[in-house]
Assembly symmetry: D2
Homo-oligomer: 309 residues x 4
């Protein structure tokens, strides 16, 4: 099933598991994917920035994508295909779709500044991958240094029929969601799916602003699933209670640079991946940092049993 | 009493209160300063970035500093004197000291990149204000785009005898505190005071890493005072309980751009300043954002009565 | 005479002369302005970035502007009024106009990224200074990190009737001039004056692309005047011959950071200002650099006698 | 022959030639390399940023490197191996050396800021490629946003015995060369080769400051060879005369973004490559820009017959 604008719920961003020698750990890919299915995820995204995609070569990237897709079964898989050249982007996009991906995700290169530059880049990218591949805009200014206004996002959507989703991780970003939803009410506002990233740091309010769910890599995607579900059931206070219990850890994980190390450490402790190894160069956790995470998990476990790992 | 490296506890960063026409509101300066004294602050800092210092002219800046200093009584006041030219920096620094300031704070211009550039800039600044003025390094990469390693901070301290404190707001920043404290154990490591900013987002662990306290503008400085006090009493779990209760609001306040609007809104609701007016250009809160803050305050009030304003 | 869109020719960017103690050198302001008049300048611009405006306090800035305006006589003077706050911008703009300025120039703060942010900032600024003050957009991405597309410049012009000129110093920037001139041919394209900066590094082609002249601080503004005149007389080859003779020095002056030191050194050698002193912090020339400039001047003097100073 | 610190002269940066469909044009690789040999180049560098290396996949990159190396014969070839992950960097480095490369070049990722971060990154990279691979630091702040002081460059050299060369393209950069040469006079200053890039914009003085030659992609590498030769023969004025004749074109080529299009256009006109095609996304030349280049070539041809192509 190709991705379309009705997508909603939680699409965890999957890390790429490595063994302690830095080789791709396919067994952990299967285990992790099984976990995403068990907890009720609505899809998943692979080969994003935090999936260490730039550290894989072309063959490895496709192997990783295929393994996730196979393990995902009926769950839609979005494959990150960002690349400096459109030829490589097209290659990975077509191969991924052929392998059964539901769509692809495209981040902007960090040289883009003006609205015209951004819109022009996405026209070129959409052209390169062809009209049959549904795709997702990745809007992550803190990481890419590219700032997209609601206006330019609408322009990208209007100019490219195959663009169906926004991965929203601007910061601050709440007003952007409201503006995008308002823009859909007027004129030709073709609706898109909005799933929120940025580690989930504002997910409690993002869903209330009109987002369709989450696409982020927080080490407790099961919490994200529950949160989105509580919000869609109208149980606002319960949603915030759950979120607030996780916020101390979530905030700790959402640190630039070292965040992926935190995430993989917790996922390994939860048994979701065999090792927290990252490929070099990478930020590492000190023993003190690990002890701080352990302390946060211990505190969290009193309010959410899943943290008692 | 001039500032020295033994400073510890909480130095709230004071906003500059304006009336609804954008004029400086001196009555609110007095009210706010009285509040800082009542809650047990150990000092205060004025004319920082979030004090809208760049939007004041030279005469206004000195008037604001003087009003705060007078109201502060015995409380040490640190005055932000960052300026594009050393002449203006020297002028404000000397006038502030003459008015009774305890020290000054200097942020780096956003053009600095290398360790040598940073060290050279601070030598020049220290030279400009003269040896008799104790001063604080402001290390805030997210805002200034200048990244200071522990090594370059040590170098600044070693090269400038009048540098007595670090306002630490790197992100991530916990390992930096550990590295700085470790460096003081060896050789010529002259100790400095480390007070933490960044909205307080990691204050729960920063004190555990060896920071001496907080220097930040969170709208509940009374919570910061309690937190630092609990930590220094060894009541770790209680400190984290208090912190965690505030974290949802604190995180909401710690958004780039719109953060000051959040802070002034809450402070006005608490009656600490008469109006949440900022000078233009400034980011504003939408009604939805205000409602979200009200909701966060209502939730917080069940765990901390001070939020029931 | 207020500035309008018909302005053309050469508006030298004036440095602010200081004596060796860093005090404003008003005698050199008068001498320099007399020189600008003698060589046939069409106007001049003061208190720009290279006028060290941020290192002057408010009183000094106005004194400098007034001194230049008085000395300029009938020559239109544009005053840079960029400031972090709109109140200070308005203050300097109104005082300058009252003193006889022809218009003001406004640079964007380096936090702006999207077209909407840029347009919104300039609406706010235009609003702050009021409809009676003609103003100039300063578009200098290398220095301000703000990139303006032709589209957003047109939008600023369309939204603000008092915007009459673009100081163009994008790099690369030739296509931008062509695009702006093309845009004036369609629909509501209110024409603006385009004067080029960036040290003059592409002035040979910029005039051919449709620019109205130069606004830059190259130490031989007399060459700029001749170049623009040759181009408007249709003497293309002669214009390029003159330009090419100056290019080695012009290129040397157009270095980031140290460029102003080069410029003031040459101007002092030419006798246009008494001293090449800059206010601190500032980049300095080494003896080797000065010798290189002397060598470039000696070489230039064989093709342009004015360099034999 | 492995690269060492005695390397000097001109190492042209080779573009990667593509046919009009974007396929690698191996015949042009051979023609271009033959040209580099004929004009007396001392080596060459392939797969740099302007070699569009990021737009090649791993297999293509190695094919291109091998083709250049084979065609180069005895001429030493340096292969750019910059990559987000050390595993890919190591893979390409070892394969290139096995194919006969003389050394490799490593650019810093744009996230590095402090001296410690830079030094640590290069230690990791040197470790990854192993002690037997001589390598070059690429110091290009305008492109990579990483600024390296002379001090940190010396630190990299001192910490990594296999680092033998600096590709210097800082701007301004003359004082950096002087500082590095001065540092070699004291203590443990192991000498390195310094070849200069930045399009050659300051090559006239860089050799005088102590650089060993040029490593840049200007479309007339034969001029660079002559310039370096004249300088080493002590014919300073002749060197500057030659340089000045080329400066108008060289300056036009050295525009960010569009520079590679200019370079490939001129090289195609000279018959060095079959087509000026770049892989997408890429900046293109308008007809007006092409006419400007033609005009610059025509003017240049009156002073250097090689431009009469």
């Amino acid at each position: 099933m190709p991705l379309d604008h009705t997508a909603r719920g939680v699409f965890p961003i999957a890390p790429t598991p490595f063994d302690t020698d830095g080789r791709i750990d396919f067994a952990s890919i299967e285990r992790l994917t099984a976990f995403y299915r068990e907890i009720g995820s609505d899809g998943m995204t692979v080969l994003g920035v935090l999936g260490e995609a730039p550290k894989l070569d072309g063959v490895e990237a496709l192997d990783v994508a295929r393994c996730f897709i196979r393990a995902a079964g009926a769950l839609p898989v979005i494959v990150g295909v960002s690349a400096p050249g459109f030829a490589a982007m097209r290659g990975l996009a077509l191969a991924s779709m052929e392998a059964g991906a539901a769509g692809v995700m495209i981040a902007p290169p960090n040289t883009l500044r003006t609205d015209d530059q951004i819109a022009s880049y996405y026209r070129g990218a959409a052209d390169a991958i062809g009209p049959g591949v549904p795709w997702v805009i990745q809007d992550y200014p803190l990481n890419f240094s590219v700032v997209m206004s609601p206006g330019v996002i609408r322009r990208i959507v209007d100019e490219n029929g195959s663009c169906v989703m926004l991965k929203h991780e601007d910061w601050p970003g709440l007003e952007k969601i409201s503006a995008l939803r308002a823009a859909e009410q007027v004129g030709t506002g073709r609706p898109i799916s909005i799933l929120c990233g940025n580690g989930g740091l504002f997910l409690d309010f993002e869903t209330e602003r009109g987002a369709d769910g989450a696409m982020t890599g927080y080490a407790f995607p099961d919490m994200l699933v529950d949160l989105v579900s509580l919000q869609s059931d109208g149980r606002r206070d319960d949603a915030h209670d759950l979120f607030d219990a996780h916020l101390p850890l979530l905030r700790y994980e959402q640190q630039p640079g070292v965040g992926l190390a935190v995430r993989k450490y917790v996922m390994a402790r939860r048994g979701l991946i065999a090792s927290d190894t990252q490929r070099n160069p990478a930020a590492r956790l000190t023993p003190t940092a690990r002890a701080e995470i352990d302390y946060l998990l211990a505190r969290l476990s009193t309010r959410d049993a899943r943290a008692g790992c």
